[in-house]
Structure formats: structure tokens, C-alpha cells
């Protein structure tokens, strides 16, 4: 057995009985025990139940028609509720919280036969771009342990990148799948808002949050998306739309190239994406320059809207029914204040305060309503670009993985990390992040952004690119991370 195997090969091997699902689970659990101490991408490892489920998968594999992901290991971001297994959101507030139910995503993936290894680290309540806000400690980038993996799905990206799991779920509110996928050199998809159910996925900003897959390749991402997606009557914002369908493989696309986005981009990163652009042309796709207006206002609008929603989404953590409650308090108000002060970290508090402010009487129009207008303009800009192109090729991050602690003191600089991902989130569009080169031995990613519900097209674009390149087959050397 070897790490970094794709879904198709794992499936074939399992069905051909080259190894059993139990052996495969052992292999990944061993990987985790070897590497997790130094990378810290798992908050909870569920070894016993994982092996039980792998044994059940082996029984299914012996039958004629096993499920599509039968016996294949997966790691869930620690904001997807898992019945009987703690779900912390990387917060002290939920440090020992065990949900009484499975989120729709977890349930569907289990029904597809995948076997859960554990829950991955993240920024607290998914608020962050570096995985440094986690109550359970920073996650390290497998390519360079002094660097961040990105966030908020930093644990998910690092676990795939380091070979601790072939598949991981993540969530993307302003870039939380695409940015860590890029900084860790793997492939990740933020689906169209409404494609994947949010039921049981702990909310950060409800109008932006979207669960999605992370894996080694666009093809694997597609496999996992198929298990995650679908209409869910328990989520009112879930779209009643069919499954993602890949277009015919020889289809050539018109790919939009938003030149102005590259003006301020690091030259080395721009060069990687420029090279990818040429490869797309060589593959027979046509490149067309597009304009994306109002992008410069997107970050401000995003932080107003996402913080506003977060400030009330997180009101339920009051110490009354579950989660952290302070030991001693004088009265009800004191109990609320102490429980929340102790339970939440600095970044979460900053966003609750920002959001509360922007929704308050006298500020609502100037902040919340204005931000909604910007959101509409950003969306309209994308929709008009998509009148002439099938998808848009864009950067994911302004730089490669940065040093741990280097941006922590400057939230605005940290927020700028999401410059290229946030506009897509505001517009609710699907975008596939995939590796396209290296700068100073650190991975560089790019994203293919599609119109609403055009996951099939952007995945096909990504598969075509990965058919001709091998950036996604580069893996970090983990000798320094190994503890055995």
C-alpha cells in the first residue's frame, strides 16, 4: 500500500481484493498516528468505529453491488455534525459537544460507503484564513512545517496533502476550501450555493457557507461531490436541481481571463497561471479577456455581511442548553458574558462585535444594506461575463503559504488573503481550485469559476488540465514531520 492513491485506484484495488477496507483503514490510521503530532490536522480520530465500519465495508465489498465509495476513508471538517462523535468547530465553546445527529453531508457520504477516519482541524467556527484561530492549535503546512496550511479548512487540506486521507470534506464561506487547497497543493471545489445541504453543518455565515470536497485530483473531487450533493428538504436554501453531470470530454470551452486581477499579483504566481492559460489554449480551449467590476469592494462587503450573519448565528452559544458554561456566575447576564467570553476566541469575538455593530439601529443602512448592494453588483458582474465565456480562470491567493504568526497581528492583511476567493462566494458561484505550479518549493493554485450549477464544466476543465499536467501528483516529503 502507498499513500496518495486516487479514488478510482482504491476502488479497483478494494474490489480486486488487493487489500481489504480494514487494511486500508489501518494504513491511513497509521499515517495519522505517525504524522498528526507534527501537522495537527485532526482534532479527533475515531479509530475504533472507523475499523468497525471498514469491516462492514468489507462485507459489502463481498456482495455484488457495493456503494460507490465503499471502504474508502474520509475525514470530515469538524463543523459537520457527527452523531456520537464530538463536533467542536475548533472552539472551546463546543470543546466537548457531541451532536445527537449526523449532518446531511456526513449521512450521505456514509450511505455512499465511505469510512470516517476522524474530524479535521479548522479555524474556530471557520473564521480565519490560516488555521491559526483554532482552539486546538495551529495546523502546519505539510510542504513546510513553519508555514500555515491556509484556512479555514486547513486541517482538511493538510490531511489530504500529507496523505493521511484520500478524501476530505471542507466548507467554503469566503475561500475556506480553495485557499487551503491551493496553499497545500491539492484540489478542492466550492460548489454553487445550494448544491450541498447545509443541514447539520455548523453555521458561520448562512448565505455564504457551502460544503465541498477536497482531494488529490479533480476526478476525485467529482467522486466525493457526487456523494455530498443533492436537494435536502431540511435545508430551505438547498437547490432542487439534478446531480452534477460532466460534459462530453472533447468539449472545448471559452475561458475568461480577468486580466485586471493579475495587476497586483505576485509575479511568480502570475507566471504559473499564465503558463496554465497557455496549456488550456494548447488543449483547444479559447481564452477571452473579461472584466469583473466591483471586485475591489468585495472584501469589505463580505466582512460586513458574513460578520452580521455570524453575530446572530453564534447567539445560540449562550451556555444554557449545551456547550461551554462558566463555572461560577452571579446572575443570568453574568453567566452569558462569562460563558461567551471564555468559550470564544479572539477572532470570533471580533466578528461578533463587527456584525452586531453593522446590524444596529443607525448603522444598518450604511453597512449591511450597502454591502448587500455591492454583493448584487459583484454577482451581476460575473453573470454578464458568463454571457460570453463558459468559465473564468483566476488566481486563488495573492501569495504562497505564509509563515505561521506572520499575519496574525494584522487582521486586515489576513482578510486580504481572500481577495480572489471572496467575490466568487458573494456571487454564490462554483469554483474549482487546483495546483498549477510551485514558487520556492511551495504550491501555487488557480481557480476555474463557473456559472451557477456549472460544476460539471469546471470539473471537466480541471480534469482536462490534470490530464496534461502533473502538478497534482507532486506530494510533500514528510521526513521531518514523521515522528516514528
Amino acid at each position: 500500500m502507498k499513500p496518495f492513491i486516487g479514488v478510482q485506484e482504491l476502488r479497483n484495488d478494494l474490489r480486486a481484493k488487493k487489500y481489504s477496507a480494514v487494511e486500508l483503514a489501518h494504513f491511513y490510521l497509521d499515517c495519522i498516528s505517525e504524522l498528526n503530532d507534527s501537522i495537527n490536522c485532526f482534532i479527533t480520530v475515531d479509530a475504533d468505529r472507523c475499523l468497525d465500519r471498514a469491516a462492514a465495508a468489507d462485507r459489502h465489498l463481498a456482495e455484488s453491488d457495493p456503494q460507490p465509495l465503499c471502504g474508502i476513508p474520509i475525514a470530515h471538517k469538524d463543523l459537520f455534525c457527527t452523531a456520537g462523535l464530538r463536533t467542536t468547530c475548533a472552539s472551546n465553546m463546543l470543546g466537548s459537544f457531541i451532536a445527537p445527529y449526523d449532518s446531511t453531508v456526513v449521512k450521505q457520504i456514509a450511505e455512499a460507503g465511505a469510512v470516517t477516519l476522524g474530524k479535521t482541524n479548522m479555524d474556530e467556527f471557520a473564521m480565519g484564513s490560516s488555521n491559526e484561530t483554532s482552539w486546538f492549535g495551529v495546523v502546519r503546512n505539510p510542504w513546510n512545517l513553519s508555514r500555515v496550511p491556509g484556512g479555514s479548512s486547513g486541517g482538511a487540506a493538510a490531511s489530504v496533502s500529507s496523505g493521511m486521507t484520500p478524501l476530505a470534506t471542507g466548507s467554503d464561506t469566503g475561500g475556506s476550501i480553495r485557499q487551503p487547497a491551493s496553499l497545500c497543493g491539492i484540489t478542492g471545489l466550492k460548489p454553487t450555493y445550494g448544491r450541498v445541504s447545509r443541514f447539520g453543518m455548523i453555521a458561520f455565515a448562512s448565505s455564504l457557507d457551502q460544503g465541498g470536497p477536497l482531494a488529490h485530483s479533480a476526478s476525485d473531487v467529482y467522486e466525493l461531490l457526487a456523494a455530498m450533493e443533492g436537494h435536502d428538504p431540511q435545508d430551505s436554501t438547498s437547490a432542487d436541481i439534478g446531480k452534477t453531470v460532466l460534459p462530453e470530454s472533447d468539449r472545448s470551452f471559452v475561458i475568461g481571463y480577468p486580466e485586471s486581477l493579475f495587476d497586483d499579483l505576485d509575479k511568480n504566481i502570475a507566471a504559473c497561471i499564465e503558463r496554465a492559460r497557455q496549456q488550456f489554449e494548447a488543449l483547444g480551449h479559447r481564452i477571452e479577456v473579461v472584466e469583473l467590476p466591483h471586485i475591489d469592494a468585495a472584501i469589505a462587503a463580505y466582512y460586513v455581511l458574513s460578520s452580521a450573519e455570524a453575530s446572530t448565528n453564534l447567539a445560540r452559544y449562550d451556555g444554557v442548553r449545551y456547550g461551554h458554561r462558566t463555572d461560577v456566575s452571579e446572575d443570568l447576564l453574568d453567566m452569558y458574558c462569562r460563558s461567551r467570553t471564555e468559550g470564544f476566541g479572539l477572532e470570533v469575538k471580533r466578528r461578533i462585535l463587527t456584525g452586531t455593530y453593522s446590524l444596529s439601529v443607525g448603522y444598518f443602512d450604511a453597512y449591511y444594506l450597502k454591502a448587500q448592494k455591492i454583493r448584487r453588483l459583484v454577482r451581476d458582474g460575473f453573470l454578464s461575463a458568463f454571457e460570453s465565456v463558459d468559465m473564468i480562470l483566476a488566481p486563488v491567493t495573492p501569495n504562497t503559504a505564509f509563515e505561521i504568526n506572520s499575519l496574525k497581528a494584522d487582521p486586515v492583511e489576513m482578510y486580504k488573503q481572500d481577495l480572489y476567493t471572496i467575490p466568487v462566494s458573494l456571487a454564490g458561484l462554483p469554483a474549482l481550485a487546483l495546483p498549477c505550479g510551485f514558487v520556492d518549493d511551495l504550491p501555487v493554485g488557480m481557480q476555474l469559476i463557473g456559472p451557477h450549477f456549472a460544476e460539471g464544466e469546471v470539473l471537466a476543465g480541471g480534469m482536462a488540465f490534470q490530464g496534461e499536467t502533473d502538478w497534482h501528483e507532486h506530494h510533500p516529503s514528510l521526513e521531518s514531520a514523521s515522528t516514528s
Partner: protein, 479 residues
């Protein structure tokens, strides 16, 4: 009350909708269940739980809107109303702030004398109820019961159109009657199915602007609305007459002491930071949906009332009383359908039957006498088989048995005496037996006639027709 002052009252009524499940979850709504047994993971606001709007609640709100001829919003939004309270699990209540489902409408409120007053309805919106804090069960701490959390409420807000406590109580009663009629609320005030808040101010008669108002919260009976408002109106007048100023505040009505008291102001600010709930998409109501709801609407009290007046030539005040309760109205109609005279049916239903039900604390849904039985009884009055006195006796008997009216008349020999000779013989005997009274009548004391009729009735054991007896006496005494 000093006549220099005019009260101005508007009310807000919270109506608990009689849906099977909660407004945003599938938990069934049931009064009196064990604490927290009617609360699923949405109701207790588990992390990751999401609301899904109950279509039945929407249908019920639309029914109310159609009944008051209101604008129904084609598109409306659910907002979050943010505040911390232990029995509010999410830390916000899902309500409707800027775009309610039901807009401006009109409610016809009937006074006791049958006259009508139009009260403007400002709006009605859907929202969820909170849970309950239980203070008396544990000595050291407060319990939280979330059974009620998420129960659908329709909050109905009136214009400040009422000018007396009695009018406000009549308006509350009319809303109660309408929502019960529509079947969208069980109308059970004792179980908290309806709660009324009243905004009240007073001003000098002739003033066009409003005085400073107070709000009395959570009044749960018609009588208390009237008493609380009367108290509060007097209180405000006393303050103003003494040269003081009314303070805008929330008050609560203490029924035991029959007075309103200032409630402590909320510890937390009143800025609810309303904004559209991103977990729920805007609700759009298609014209097909509205048509579908419209087709299920019952005949409204107002329409029925007008029809009763035209079809059965009933007095307005009688028609008002018959249409106050949908069960009474349909009981009345089926009695008529079984052949009873409308006037007699109305008199009997509002008189004897109502009194009997009242004695037994029953309502028109569980009366022991069927409308067919009542119609039979009335038909026997119409064909003079029974006098009204005898009919009351028969009513008592059919109240406790399923026997037919005719069987009872036969068996108990309650048939009215219709043999003219037999009646004449009785009348002659009474004339002979009472020479003094006959003399008095002949000399002009016609009042004594009643006494003689009574004697004849007594002699006939109540079976004679009093009108026939009276006519006969007059003829035989030549007066």
C-alpha cells in the same frame, strides 16, 4: 370617566395557529406534554439545525388575510429579531418585520346592540413563539421548557381605532370569533392560545393628535382587556388632570388587584437588530396558491349574517348573535333545513338551548339534542301540538334521551288540548267557579283576565292553548 377625555386604543393579538406541527420544524404541537418532550433539534437550536417553513401556517395566515379583505403579500420575508433570553433557544426569534404576509385590512366589530363598527387592521405577520421559563419547580434554579418554542403565531395589529375599553374588548372578541370560525386557532384563552397587548392613550375630546401611550402586555381574557383598559384609562386621566405626564412604558395587568403595574424595563437594549433570516428564502405566494386557499374558505360571519337577515328576515341583533360562533350558525342552519321555522329556531337556540348549554358548560359542538330533534320540537309548536310551556318540558326530556319528540309527546301525554268542546267545558266551569273575578272583569279590571286564563291552564294540566283559552273567555264574557 370624565367626559372631557377620549381614550384611544389599538390592540395586538397573538394567535396561536392550530397547525399540526411547529412553524419551522416537524415537532407536533400539543398542549400539556411533559417538559421538553415536544422539542426536536431545531426547536432546541442545536448547532447546524435549520428551519423549514410549515406551509399549513402560511395557509392559515392567508385565510385570515382573505377574511379581513386584506392585501396578501406576493413576496414576504422572515427576519431575525435578536435578543438573549434563556427560553429563546437561537438567541433570535424568527418573525416578520418589514414585509408581513398580511397587509392592511378591515374587521367588522359588532356591538351588543348589533350595530357594526369597522376597525382597521394594520398588518398580521407570522412568527414563532418562545419557550417558557419555569420558576416554581426548582428551588435553586430556573427550568426551561421548550415545548412551546416554535409554535406558530399570527400577530394581528389593529389601527388605534377604538375609543373605549368595551370597544377594545369587543374587537378582541371579534378576532377570537373570526379565527375560531376560520378554524385557524382553537380559541382556548385559558391555555394561552390567544394573548392580547393593548396600546392606550387618552386625549382631550376634539384633539386630533394622540397622547403619550402605554402598552399593557399579555392579557388573556375579554373581561380582563376591558378591566385593564378601564383602569389604565382612569389612571392616565388622573395623571393628566393633576397636571402630570404619562410615561411611555410597558405595563402588566394584575387581575387579582384589578390594576395595571409598570413592568421593569428590559435589562437589555431594545435594538433587536432585525435583518432577513438567511436560512429562509423570501416566501412567494403564487396566485394559484391564493386561489387554492380561497376555495377552502368557509362562508364568513359577515356574509352569513347578511344572508340570515335577507333569507330568514331575522333582526340584525339576532343574526349577529347567531353568527358569533360558527358551530351555532351551522346548528341553526341545519335546524332550519330540517323544516323548523327560522324565527322559532333562533329564539329557541339563543334562549332555552343556550341556557341549558350554559348550565352544563357545554358548547354547540356537544349539545345532547340534535338539530333534527330540535326541528321536530319546533314543528310541534308550529302545528300547535305543543304550547311553549309544554315544549320546554319536551326539550328537557329529549336533552337526556334519544327518543323522538313525537314518542315523548305520546308517552307523556303532553299533547296540547285541541278538542274545542273540552276547552269550552273547562272555561265554563272556571267562569262559574269564579263569580267575583268575572264581576271585576266586567267592570273594567281586564288585568284579572290573566288569572282566569291561568286557572283554565291549571285545570287542563298545561295542555290547553293559552291564546285559545283567552279568546274563548273574551267571547263568553262579551268583552
Amino acid at each position: 370617566m370624565s367626559s372631557k377625555w377620549e381614550p384611544v386604543v389599538g390592540i395586538e393579538v397573538h394567535v396561536q395557529l392550530a397547525t399540526r406541527s411547529k412553524i419551522f420544524s416537524s415537532t407536533s404541537v400539543e398542549f400539556g406534554a411533559e417538559p421538553n418532550k415536544r422539542a426536536n433539534l431545531i426547536d432546541v437550536a442545536m448547532p447546524g439545525a435549520l428551519p423549514v417553513l410549515n406551509e399549513e401556517a402560511v395557509t392559515m395566515a392567508v385565510k385570515f388575510g382573505l377574511a379581513i379583505d386584506a392585501e396578501i403579500a406576493e413576496r414576504c420575508v422572515f427576519d431575525r429579531k435578536n435578543y438573549f433570553y434563556p427560553d429563546l433557544p437561537k438567541g433570535y426569534q424568527i418573525s416578520q418585520f418589514e414585509s408581513p404576509i398580511v397587509g392592511r385590512g378591515q374587521l367588522s366589530v359588532f356591538r351588543e346592540d348589533g350595530s357594526v363598527r369597522q376597525i382597521g387592521i394594520t398588518r398580521a405577520h407570522l412568527e414563532e413563539d418562545a419557550g417558557k421559563s419555569v420558576h416554581d419547580r426548582f428551588s435553586e434554579s430556573t427550568g426551561i421548557d421548550l415545548n412551546r418554542a416554535g409554535t406558530p403565531l399570527l400577530e394581528i395589529v389593529t389601527e388605534p381605532d377604538m375609543r373605549s375599553a368595551a370597544e377594545a374588548a369587543a374587537c378582541f372578541r371579534q378576532i377570537h370569533s373570526l379565527v375560531s370560525w376560520l378554524g385557524i386557532c382553537d380559541g382556548n384563552l385559558a391555555e394561552g392560545s390567544m394573548r392580547c397587548d393593548a396600546n392606550v392613550s387618552v386625549r382631550r375630546v376634539g384633539d386630533t393628535s394622540f397622547g403619550e401611550r402605554t402598552e399593557i402586555k399579555n392579557i388573556n381574557s375579554f373581561r380582563f382587556v376591558e378591566r385593564a383598559l378601564n383602569y389604565e384609562i382612569e389612571r392616565q386621566i388622573d395623571i393628566l388632570e393633576a397636571g402630570g405626564e404619562v410615561v411611555r412604558e410597558t405595563r402588566h395587568y394584575d387581575a387579582d388587584r384589578d390594576m395595571t403595574l409598570s413592568m421593569r424595563s428590559k435589562e437589555l437594549s431594545d435594538d433587536y437588530r432585525y435583518f432577513p433570516d438567511p436560512d429562509l428564502l423570501p416566501l412567494r405566494l403564487s396566485s394559484e396558491f391564493l386561489d387554492r386557499v380561497r376555495s377552502t374558505m368557509p362562508e364568513l360571519p359577515q356574509q352569513k349574517l347578511e344572508r340570515f337577515i335577507t333569507d330568514y328576515s331575522l333582526a340584525q341583533s339576532v343574526a349577529v348573535r347567531l353568527t358569533r360562533d360558527s358551530n351555532l350558525a351551522s346548528y341553526f342552519e341545519s335546524t332550519i333545513a330540517s323544516g323548523a321555522d327560522p324565527h322559532l329556531a333562533a329564539n329557541w337556540l339563543l334562549g332555552e338551548v343556550a341556557a341549558a348549554l350554559n348550565r352544563e358548560e357545554k358548547d354547540y359542538t356537544d349539545t345532547p339534542v340534535s338539530s333534527a330533534q330540535l326541528a321536530d320540537l319546533i314543528k310541534r309548536i308550529q302545528d300547535k301540538t305543543l304550547s311553549s310551556t309544554l315544549a320546554k318540558e319536551v326539550l328537557e326530556l329529549i336533552w337526556t334521551s334519544d327518543d323522538s319528540v313525537d314518542d315523548i309527546i305520546e308517552r307523556q301525554g303532553l299533547r296540547q288540548l285541541d278538542d274545542a268542546d273540552e276547552v269550552r267545558t273547562l272555561v265554563e266551569r272556571i267562569i262559574v267557579d269564579h263569580p267575583d273575578q268575572v264581576e271585576q272583569i266586567r267592570s273594567g279590571a281586564t288585568k284579572v283576565m290573566g288569572f282566569l286564563v291561568g286557572q283554565v291552564m291549571k285545570a287542563s294540566q298545561g295542555k290547553a292553548d293559552p291564546r285559545q283559552v283567552s279568546d274563548l273567555l273574551k267571547r263568553m264574557l262579551n268583552i
